[in-house]
Symmetry: none
Subunit: 208 residues, 4 copies
Amino acid sequence: MPVDPIQEQLIQARRNQILDAATTAFAQKGYHRATIQDVAKVAGIAAGTIYNYFENKTALLMGILERLNETERRDDDMSQMLKMDSHTFTQHYLRRRFEVLTQNGFEIFQIVLSEVLIDSDLRAIYMAQVIEPTFALAENYYAQAVGSGKIRSDADIALMLRLTSATVVGILVLRILGDREIVGKWDQIPDLLTTMMLDGILPPKGDV
Amino acid sequence: MPVDPIQEQLIQARRNQILDAATTAFAQKGYHRATIQDVAKVAGIAAGTIYNYFENKTALLMGILERLNETERRDDDMSQMLKMDSHTFTQHYLRRRFEVLTQNGFEIFQIVLSEVLIDSDLRAIYMAQVIEPTFALAENYYAQAVGSGKIRSDADIALMLRLTSATVVGILVLRILGDREIVGKWDQIPDLLTTMMLDGILPPKGDV
Amino acid sequence: MPVDPIQEQLIQARRNQILDAATTAFAQKGYHRATIQDVAKVAGIAAGTIYNYFENKTALLMGILERLNETERRDDDMSQMLKMDSHTFTQHYLRRRFEVLTQNGFEIFQIVLSEVLIDSDLRAIYMAQVIEPTFALAENYYAQAVGSGKIRSDADIALMLRLTSATVVGILVLRILGDREIVGKWDQIPDLLTTMMLDGILPPKGDV
Amino acid sequence: MPVDPIQEQLIQARRNQILDAATTAFAQKGYHRATIQDVAKVAGIAAGTIYNYFENKTALLMGILERLNETERRDDDMSQMLKMDSHTFTQHYLRRRFEVLTQNGFEIFQIVLSEVLIDSDLRAIYMAQVIEPTFALAENYYAQAVGSGKIRSDADIALMLRLTSATVVGILVLRILGDREIVGKWDQIPDLLTTMMLDGILPPKGDV
DNA sequence: CATGAATGAGAGTTCATTCAT
DNA sequence: GATGAATGAACTCTCATTCAT
């Protein structure tokens, strides 16, 4: 069956419309409490129509996760970043991560994270497809950075990267939880985090 | 109506038995997918009995959260910690936090976190009763530490504390998600984190 | 409105195409489990098109039944058969019935029978239009046969005919159920049945 | 878990109550058209209660079939029948089969037959557990009868038995379809059938 | 006349909650 | 206080039917 490109576009548009609605509905009530009717109502279509585009409710969740993945991957021309010094690199890296978070809307992470904590199948997918790639580039960079003496050689790179990423994840969680400091100073965070991570919270040695 | 203390103890024992079962059941299947029958089966009692001790299913979740609070608060004689230097204090503080996490079992955070991300009422309670107190002591200490020049005075204390806590939260999330680095090196994390936070990931100045 | 005969033929062709598809689809999944989409797919047309030719799903079933009727009636020039002796007549009659069954495909009886057992409206139609006519001719013949002494006069003709027809129906059912003896020896059955019915299963009197 | 015999009886009673209701409801509307609500209404209980006793709607059908099996098997002390002459044996056998049909109520066969024609899984079960055993005894007897010269030795026993059983099945079908002759003379059928099968419909040789 | 996306009523099924025992 | 059978509202999903294109 030859694919009509216009048909294909219409189908994609409808799928996106439904996924947008699902994101909204799931974020408001949570995946389980939100019904297909809720999603349909938000999308402004009949409930049955959703099943012309998605096999079942779970597929909606998967669809949201897939779209998230695409966004995550869509960028990251990191070739230049490897030439930067530690500070600039870290700064760029964190800014980029925060942009991705901000652009996607936090709802999407709210949904995905809360389900991922519960559903072990989803968890495996999420780890492999979202979390791990988030580590990948930095891991590559830091390995080189250690080699060239930019970073302390006694460090456990793998673990330290987890801690760094954990910080980003944790900030996201606190943001979703509604912490006012985090929400209010969202844009300053990447740079503050850069400083904190590179130099620590102690006063500069020379200052004492 | 005077309360019979023995009756009271029996009631508390039964409540705890049910909450333990609920924790187990919710952790396995998630709050929504776990049924009251599941909880009852784990507890070794009839489903109806649960309703003699808890108003409804939501109350089970609240009960779990309350018990978590009690644990969090049960300790923390921090009076001595205020006399410590920055490194020792931070180390103590992080070790303490990780102990609490480990002792409670991660399941409980898995349950609470996933629901808290969804349910805005629960979220408000959780923020006020669990997250905020976790900040409180440190906030107090660091304010003093800045005053006495132990910490760089240009820092945004409130925000920096959020970032620190975010790291702990994020580590917990990654642990729940099953990250192998985090799981394998769990016990080393508090100390590594202490170093990283205080000194940063840059090599010591003198090394260059 | 004068009917364009070419139009009429096209319509009939399309109706037959759809009924063929419906027969196939219904036989595979059963009337209820087969969807209009299934029928459309087998027919190679769109689902909506079916509704240009049939009022609803039930009408498809009726259409199948009607076509069955036409086949049943299409032949049966029985004028010569009345001149035959009992054995030849019975043999011809049974062979003819089995041909009809075989030609139509058993699927059609599978569909019709299963629905007829359930739907009382359909049942009335089926009785009046299919079963009863099947009796008619034979009834006529046997009445004459009794009159001329070819058949025992103490017999209850009407009932005996039902039993004979019942045998044919039952054989069909067993065939649909997949009985191996019946399936394997299908072609021998009319003649065996002729012998059995006329002479019984007892050994010939003279043999003893 | 030790089984409380009174509990067990109550459960069986409720199961039977539900199966009775299901038989009624399915016979009226057919298995597919009858809803669980219909069954519940007939049984005078809530729809959900049915699911405490049967896994799903299919299990209701299976339950009906199982009860039918039990009835079929409940009897048949055929040891004496083997001593009978052909006529008495056949008469007893057919009478017995008709009794079973009559006692169970025709609805049950209406339901089972119509589903069995459609569902190939069910068909296999039905063949193995209901139809085949119905053949078994007779097959045994007739084999002996042929050996002792009571039945013509040129007969294909296996096939002839199918034809006999087919007749019973066919009579049942015609009865369900509402044929008046069959319904009206139901009780005479076994004996008439006996005569017809043994002696054929031809007039006795000596009569000519 | 053909199409097939959209519809929404209605089905089977689950499960929190109640209450007679 | 403990039980667990009964309840029925609410959910997901299916599919006959319609109708704009």
